[in-house]
Protein backbone atom coordinates (compact mmCIF):
# COMPACT_ATOMS: atom_id res chain seq x y z
CA UNK A 1 0.00 0.00 0.00
CA UNK A 2 1.19 3.47 -0.85
CA UNK A 3 2.60 5.52 1.96
CA UNK A 4 -0.01 7.90 3.36
CA UNK A 5 0.63 11.51 4.23
CA UNK A 6 0.12 12.24 7.88
CA UNK A 7 -2.83 14.59 8.39
CA UNK A 8 -0.73 17.13 10.23
CA UNK A 9 1.38 17.70 7.08
CA UNK A 10 -1.59 19.04 5.10
CA UNK A 11 -3.74 22.02 5.79
CA UNK A 12 -7.46 21.41 5.84
CA UNK A 13 -9.26 22.48 2.66
CA UNK A 14 -10.19 26.18 2.57
CA UNK A 15 -8.18 26.93 5.69
CA UNK A 16 -6.93 30.54 5.83
CA UNK A 17 -3.69 31.07 3.94
CA UNK A 18 -0.62 31.54 6.04
CA UNK A 19 0.50 35.16 6.58
CA UNK A 20 3.63 34.35 4.59
CA UNK A 21 1.81 33.39 1.39
CA UNK A 22 -0.63 36.26 1.79
CA UNK A 23 2.23 38.72 1.95
CA UNK A 24 3.50 37.65 -1.49
CA UNK A 25 0.34 38.92 -3.21
CA UNK A 26 -0.40 42.04 -1.21
CA UNK A 27 -1.37 44.28 -4.15
CA UNK A 28 -3.82 43.97 -7.02
CA UNK A 29 -1.74 45.83 -9.61
CA UNK A 30 -1.41 42.81 -11.90
CA UNK A 31 -5.18 42.36 -11.81
CA UNK A 32 -5.69 46.03 -12.73
CA UNK A 33 -3.19 45.56 -15.55
CA UNK A 34 -5.07 42.49 -16.81
CA UNK A 35 -8.36 44.42 -16.80
CA UNK A 36 -6.73 47.44 -18.47
CA UNK A 37 -5.38 45.31 -21.34
CA UNK A 38 -8.91 44.16 -22.15
CA UNK A 39 -10.67 47.51 -21.70
CA UNK A 40 -8.03 49.50 -23.61
CA UNK A 41 -7.86 46.77 -26.26
CA UNK A 42 -11.55 47.17 -27.06
CA UNK A 43 -11.19 50.97 -27.29
CA UNK A 44 -8.00 50.70 -29.35
CA UNK A 45 -9.75 48.47 -31.87
CA UNK A 46 -12.20 51.30 -32.61
CA UNK A 47 -9.56 54.08 -32.47
CA UNK A 48 -6.99 52.31 -34.67
CA UNK A 49 -9.45 50.94 -37.22
CA UNK A 50 -10.85 54.48 -37.52
CA UNK A 51 -7.31 55.86 -37.89
CA UNK A 52 -6.41 53.31 -40.60
CA UNK A 53 -9.70 53.91 -42.40
CA UNK A 54 -9.20 57.69 -42.53
CA UNK A 55 -5.49 57.58 -43.43
CA UNK A 56 -5.11 54.48 -45.62
CA UNK A 57 -8.56 53.79 -47.11
CA UNK A 58 -10.46 57.03 -47.79
CA UNK A 59 -9.58 58.93 -50.98
CA UNK A 60 -6.06 58.27 -52.23
CA UNK A 61 -5.02 56.48 -49.06
CA UNK A 62 -1.38 56.88 -48.11
CA UNK A 63 -0.66 59.08 -51.16
CA UNK A 64 -2.82 61.83 -49.67
CA UNK A 65 -0.82 62.02 -46.43
CA UNK A 66 1.43 65.07 -46.14
CA UNK A 67 1.86 68.09 -43.87
CA UNK A 68 -1.33 69.71 -45.18
CA UNK A 69 -3.30 66.50 -44.49
CA UNK A 70 -2.09 66.43 -40.87
CA UNK A 71 -2.79 70.18 -40.61
CA UNK A 72 -6.37 69.62 -41.74
CA UNK A 73 -6.93 66.74 -39.36
CA UNK A 74 -5.42 68.36 -36.27
CA UNK A 75 -7.41 71.55 -36.79
CA UNK A 76 -10.33 69.49 -35.56
CA UNK A 77 -10.69 68.89 -31.81
CA UNK A 78 -12.21 65.50 -32.65
CA UNK A 79 -9.04 64.18 -34.31
CA UNK A 80 -6.79 65.85 -31.74
CA UNK A 81 -8.68 64.03 -28.98
CA UNK A 82 -8.80 60.82 -31.04
CA UNK A 83 -5.04 60.79 -31.61
CA UNK A 84 -4.20 61.82 -28.04
CA UNK A 85 -6.35 59.01 -26.62
CA UNK A 86 -4.91 56.56 -29.14
CA UNK A 87 -1.35 57.61 -28.24
CA UNK A 88 -1.82 57.16 -24.50
CA UNK A 89 -3.85 53.97 -24.60
CA UNK A 90 -1.63 52.30 -27.22
CA UNK A 91 1.55 53.25 -25.37
CA UNK A 92 0.31 51.96 -22.01
CA UNK A 93 -1.17 48.82 -23.61
CA UNK A 94 2.00 48.15 -25.63
CA UNK A 95 4.40 48.93 -22.78
CA UNK A 96 2.52 46.60 -20.45
CA UNK A 97 2.55 43.89 -23.11
CA UNK A 98 6.30 44.19 -23.71
CA UNK A 99 6.85 44.28 -19.92
CA UNK A 100 5.08 40.91 -19.72
CA UNK A 101 7.24 39.52 -22.52
CA UNK A 102 10.43 40.72 -20.77
CA UNK A 103 9.29 39.16 -17.49
CA UNK A 104 8.62 35.87 -19.29
CA UNK A 105 11.85 35.51 -21.22
CA UNK A 106 14.60 37.52 -19.46
CA UNK A 107 15.63 35.17 -16.67
CA UNK A 108 18.51 37.11 -15.12
CA UNK A 109 17.59 39.94 -12.75
CA UNK A 110 20.11 42.33 -14.32
CA UNK A 111 18.80 41.63 -17.83
CA UNK A 112 15.23 42.32 -16.75
CA UNK A 113 16.19 45.58 -15.03
CA UNK A 114 18.11 46.85 -18.09
CA UNK A 115 15.38 45.89 -20.59
CA UNK A 116 12.55 47.30 -18.48
CA UNK A 117 14.46 50.53 -17.81
CA UNK A 118 14.90 50.98 -21.56
CA UNK A 119 11.23 50.18 -22.09
CA UNK A 120 10.02 52.72 -19.50
CA UNK A 121 12.39 55.36 -20.90
CA UNK A 122 10.98 54.78 -24.40
CA UNK A 123 7.47 55.04 -22.94
CA UNK A 124 8.11 58.40 -21.24
CA UNK A 125 9.96 59.91 -24.21
CA UNK A 126 7.34 58.78 -26.75
CA UNK A 127 4.29 59.80 -24.72
CA UNK A 128 5.73 63.21 -23.79
CA UNK A 129 6.91 63.88 -27.35
CA UNK A 130 3.61 62.80 -28.93
CA UNK A 131 1.52 64.77 -26.44
CA UNK A 132 3.59 67.95 -26.93
CA UNK A 133 3.35 67.59 -30.72
CA UNK A 134 -0.45 67.28 -30.65
CA UNK A 135 -0.87 70.28 -28.33
CA UNK A 136 1.74 72.62 -29.84
CA UNK A 137 1.15 71.82 -33.53
CA UNK A 138 0.69 74.84 -35.82
CA UNK A 139 -1.02 73.87 -39.10
CA UNK A 140 0.01 77.20 -40.67
CA UNK A 141 3.62 77.84 -39.63
CA UNK A 142 4.90 81.29 -40.70
CA UNK A 143 7.48 81.40 -43.51
CA UNK A 144 6.48 77.97 -44.84
CA UNK A 145 5.71 77.65 -48.57
CA UNK A 146 1.95 78.07 -49.00
CA UNK A 147 1.67 75.10 -51.39
CA UNK A 148 2.75 72.76 -48.58
CA UNK A 149 0.02 73.95 -46.21
CA UNK A 150 -3.67 73.22 -45.80
CA UNK A 151 -5.87 75.42 -48.02
CA UNK A 152 -7.37 77.28 -45.03
CA UNK A 153 -3.95 78.77 -44.20
CA UNK A 154 -4.03 81.06 -47.23
CA UNK A 155 -7.78 81.63 -47.37
Amino acid sequence: MAQTVTPSALEAPRSPRSPRSRRSTRTNYELYGWVFMRASGALLLVLIFGHLFMNLWVGEGINAIDFAFVGGKWSSPLWQTWDLLMLWLAMIHGTNGVRTIINDYAERDATRIVLKSALYLAFVVTVVLGTLVIFTFDPCPPNAPAELLASFCTA
Binding site: I48, I62, N63, I65, L148
Partner: protein, 126 residues
Protein backbone atom coordinates in the same frame (compact mmCIF):
# COMPACT_ATOMS: atom_id res chain seq x y z
CA UNK B 1 13.86 29.34 -12.15
CA UNK B 2 14.59 25.98 -13.80
CA UNK B 3 15.23 25.98 -17.53
CA UNK B 4 12.51 24.45 -19.66
CA UNK B 5 13.67 21.28 -21.39
CA UNK B 6 14.48 21.94 -25.03
CA UNK B 7 12.07 20.87 -27.73
CA UNK B 8 8.86 20.87 -25.75
CA UNK B 9 5.71 22.27 -27.35
CA UNK B 10 3.54 23.09 -24.32
CA UNK B 11 0.07 21.98 -25.40
CA UNK B 12 0.54 23.01 -29.01
CA UNK B 13 -2.43 23.33 -31.33
CA UNK B 14 -4.70 26.33 -31.83
CA UNK B 15 -4.63 27.72 -28.28
CA UNK B 16 -0.85 27.95 -28.10
CA UNK B 17 -0.26 29.15 -31.63
CA UNK B 18 -2.83 31.93 -31.39
CA UNK B 19 -1.13 33.01 -28.15
CA UNK B 20 2.27 33.03 -29.91
CA UNK B 21 0.84 34.99 -32.85
CA UNK B 22 -0.78 37.50 -30.45
CA UNK B 23 2.61 38.08 -28.75
CA UNK B 24 4.59 38.39 -31.96
CA UNK B 25 2.11 40.79 -33.60
CA UNK B 26 1.78 42.89 -30.43
CA UNK B 27 5.56 43.15 -30.11
CA UNK B 28 5.96 44.27 -33.74
CA UNK B 29 3.11 46.78 -33.51
CA UNK B 30 4.65 48.34 -30.39
CA UNK B 31 7.95 49.04 -32.15
CA UNK B 32 6.17 50.49 -35.16
CA UNK B 33 4.27 52.74 -32.75
CA UNK B 34 7.53 54.16 -31.36
CA UNK B 35 8.78 54.86 -34.89
CA UNK B 36 5.44 56.28 -35.99
CA UNK B 37 5.25 58.80 -33.12
CA UNK B 38 8.83 59.86 -33.92
CA UNK B 39 8.15 60.36 -37.65
CA UNK B 40 4.88 62.19 -37.00
CA UNK B 41 6.63 64.53 -34.56
CA UNK B 42 8.53 65.97 -37.56
CA UNK B 43 5.42 68.10 -38.21
CA UNK B 44 6.90 70.31 -35.45
CA UNK B 45 10.18 70.67 -37.36
CA UNK B 46 8.91 71.83 -40.76
CA UNK B 47 6.44 70.87 -43.49
CA UNK B 48 9.41 69.89 -45.68
CA UNK B 49 10.87 67.56 -43.04
CA UNK B 50 7.52 65.83 -42.47
CA UNK B 51 6.82 65.46 -46.19
CA UNK B 52 10.28 63.96 -46.70
CA UNK B 53 9.82 61.27 -44.03
CA UNK B 54 6.23 60.46 -44.99
CA UNK B 55 7.45 60.21 -48.59
CA UNK B 56 9.51 57.18 -47.58
CA UNK B 57 6.26 55.47 -46.52
CA UNK B 58 4.99 55.78 -50.09
CA UNK B 59 7.70 53.74 -51.79
CA UNK B 60 6.75 50.19 -52.86
CA UNK B 61 8.91 48.33 -50.33
CA UNK B 62 7.46 50.34 -47.45
CA UNK B 63 4.03 49.81 -49.02
CA UNK B 64 4.46 46.06 -48.60
CA UNK B 65 5.67 46.65 -45.05
CA UNK B 66 2.47 48.61 -44.35
CA UNK B 67 0.49 45.64 -45.61
CA UNK B 68 2.29 43.48 -43.05
CA UNK B 69 1.68 46.06 -40.34
CA UNK B 70 -2.05 46.23 -41.09
CA UNK B 71 -2.20 42.42 -41.16
CA UNK B 72 -0.54 42.29 -37.72
CA UNK B 73 -2.97 44.90 -36.35
CA UNK B 74 -6.05 43.18 -37.82
CA UNK B 75 -5.06 39.78 -36.40
CA UNK B 76 -4.18 41.26 -33.00
CA UNK B 77 -7.49 43.15 -32.89
CA UNK B 78 -9.74 40.22 -33.86
CA UNK B 79 -7.85 37.71 -31.74
CA UNK B 80 -8.01 40.22 -28.85
CA UNK B 81 -11.81 40.08 -29.06
CA UNK B 82 -11.52 36.28 -28.96
CA UNK B 83 -9.32 36.52 -25.83
CA UNK B 84 -11.96 38.69 -24.15
CA UNK B 85 -14.70 36.22 -25.10
CA UNK B 86 -12.65 33.34 -23.69
CA UNK B 87 -12.19 35.34 -20.46
CA UNK B 88 -15.64 36.81 -19.97
CA UNK B 89 -18.15 34.68 -21.89
CA UNK B 90 -19.29 31.62 -19.96
CA UNK B 91 -19.06 29.44 -23.10
CA UNK B 92 -15.78 31.06 -24.22
CA UNK B 93 -13.35 28.27 -23.31
CA UNK B 94 -15.64 25.68 -24.90
CA UNK B 95 -15.62 27.48 -28.26
CA UNK B 96 -12.11 28.97 -28.34
CA UNK B 97 -11.08 26.83 -31.32
CA UNK B 98 -14.12 27.69 -33.39
CA UNK B 99 -13.62 31.36 -32.49
CA UNK B 100 -10.04 31.21 -33.79
CA UNK B 101 -11.32 30.00 -37.17
CA UNK B 102 -13.85 32.84 -37.15
CA UNK B 103 -10.97 35.24 -36.38
CA UNK B 104 -9.00 33.82 -39.32
CA UNK B 105 -12.05 34.11 -41.58
CA UNK B 106 -12.60 37.77 -40.63
CA UNK B 107 -8.88 38.38 -41.06
CA UNK B 108 -8.92 36.97 -44.60
CA UNK B 109 -12.01 39.01 -45.54
CA UNK B 110 -10.54 42.25 -44.12
CA UNK B 111 -7.18 41.77 -45.80
CA UNK B 112 -8.83 40.78 -49.09
CA UNK B 113 -10.58 44.15 -49.04
CA UNK B 114 -7.60 46.22 -47.88
CA UNK B 115 -4.76 44.65 -49.89
CA UNK B 116 -5.85 45.55 -53.47
CA UNK B 117 -6.87 49.05 -52.40
CA UNK B 118 -3.57 49.76 -50.66
CA UNK B 119 -1.47 48.21 -53.45
CA UNK B 120 -3.29 50.35 -56.02
CA UNK B 121 -2.50 53.45 -53.94
CA UNK B 122 1.16 52.42 -53.56
CA UNK B 123 1.83 51.16 -57.10
CA UNK B 124 -0.81 53.09 -59.04
CA UNK B 125 0.76 55.81 -61.17
CA UNK B 126 2.31 58.31 -58.73
Amino acid sequence: MPDAPAGTLYRGREGMWSWVAHRVTGFLIFFFLLVHVADTSLVRVSPEAYNAVIGTYKNPIMGLGELGLVAAIVFHAFNGIRVMLVDFWSQGTRHHRLMLWIVMGLFVVTMAAFTPRHLMNVFGGH
